[in-house]
Amino acid sequence: MIILGILVMMVLGILLMAMLDVLVFQQPFFTVLVQLLPVYPDTSTIYMIIGAFVIAAWVNFKMTDRLKKKYGSKSKNQGGEKRDTKQS
C-alpha cells in the first residue's frame, strides 16, 4: 500500500505541475507533460524518484525487520545472554 500511495501522490503531483505549466506557457497539455517528465537531459530526478520507490518498497516489505531476523537477532541475544550471566 505504501508503494501505491507514493505512485498516486506522484501522478497527482505531476498532473498538478503540468496543469500549472499549461497556464504559464499557454501550450497543450501533452506537450507540457512530455516536457515536464524527467527523461532527458537532466536524469537526476529519475534517480530520486526510483530512490523514493526503493525506500517505499523497503518499508512496505519490512526489510529492516526481515534482515534483523535473519542476521541481527542472533548476535544481539548472545550479547544479552552474556550480560545476564555477568550480572548473575
Binding site: V8, M9, G13, I14, L16, L20, V24, T45
Partner: protein, 364 residues
Amino acid sequence: MTLSKVNTVDTFTLQLVFLLSTSIIFGTPSVVPDSWLVGIVAFFPACLLIVIYSTMLALQEDRGLYPMLEKAWGKVIGKGFVLIYSTYFLYIAARNIRDMIELIMSTLLRMTPVPLLTTMFVLLIAYTVLGGLHAIARFASLILWLILFMLLTLAILLMFSSSIILEQMLPFLSKGMWPVVKSAFSFSIWFPYGEIIVFLVFQPQLGGAKGFRKITLYAFLSTCIILSLTDLIQIWTLGLEDKKYSVFALLDAARLINIANIITRMDAIIALIIIFGTLLKCTVFLLACTEGVARVFNREAKDFAFPLAVVAGAFSILVTRNSAEHVTEGLKYVIYTLHIPLQLLVPLLTLLLIRIRYRKGATT
C-alpha cells in the same frame, strides 16, 4: 488513544516561524511601492480565515481537517479531497524546497550540484518528520529566538554601518491606497497567512477551536509586525527601486553591512535564518501530507515520511524550469488555481455542508 497536546507557547512559536520562514526570503511581493503597508492591510481580511477555520473546528468537536472533510463530503468524495489536500501540501513543500535551493545556489554553494543539495535537505526534512509534531514545535521555539536575535542584530549592524536612510521610503503612497489594498487581497492574504490551513490537520494535537483562534491571531499579528519591519529595513537600505528588482531583498540588505571593514558579509546569517525556517515549514507541510496519505491508504504516517520527502525533492527540481518562471507561477497562477480554492472555497463549502448536514441537535 488520546494524543498529548502541544503546549500553547510551542504552538504559537511553531505558527510564527511557519509564517515567517519563506516570507522573509522574498518579503511582501513588490508589486506596489509601499509593500510594507501591504502586510498590515492584509492582516485584517486574513483574520476572516481564522474565523472560518475556527468555526469549522468548533462545529466538528476539534477534529482535524481530514476527518472533517470525510464527515462533510462523505467517505468517497472526502477521501478524494484528502488526496487533493495532500498533493497541495506536497506541492507547496516542493516549492519551498526550490526557494531555499535557489537561495543556497546563488549565495553559499554555487558549485554544488542541485540534486545533491536537494537530496540532503529532503532527508533532513524526513528525519524531522519522524520526530512528530511535539519535536517540531520544540524545534520551532529554538529557531524563533535565533530568527529574532539575528534580525535584531541585522538591524543594529545596518544602523551602525550608516546604510539605513529613512528618506528612501518616499514618495509615500505615490499611487494612492487602492494598489496597496488590491495587492493585499491578491497576494498577501493567501501567502503567508492562508497557508495556516495546514494547522487544521494537527488540531487534535493542538489547542482545538478556542486555542486555534487565540494563538493564530497572535501569530498573525506578530508576523504582520515582523514582516512589515523587515520590509521597512529593506526599503530603507535598498530603496524602492532596488527592492523591486531584488530577488532576495533581505539578503541584499545584509550585504550592505560594513563596519570598519571588519564586520562584513553578514548575508550568511540571513541565509542561515532562511534555511532553518524553510526546514521547519517543509517539515510541517510534509507531515500534513503524510497524515493525509496514511489516512487514505490505512498505514502509519511515518511509513510515508522518507519516500514522500524524496518525491518532494524530485518535484522541487521539476516544479519550474527557471527562477523567473518560479516567481511568476507562484505570484500569479498558484494563488488563483490552488490557494484561493483550497484555502477559502473548499473550507467554506465544507462549513456550509457541515451546517446543513449536522444541524443543532443532530448527532455529528
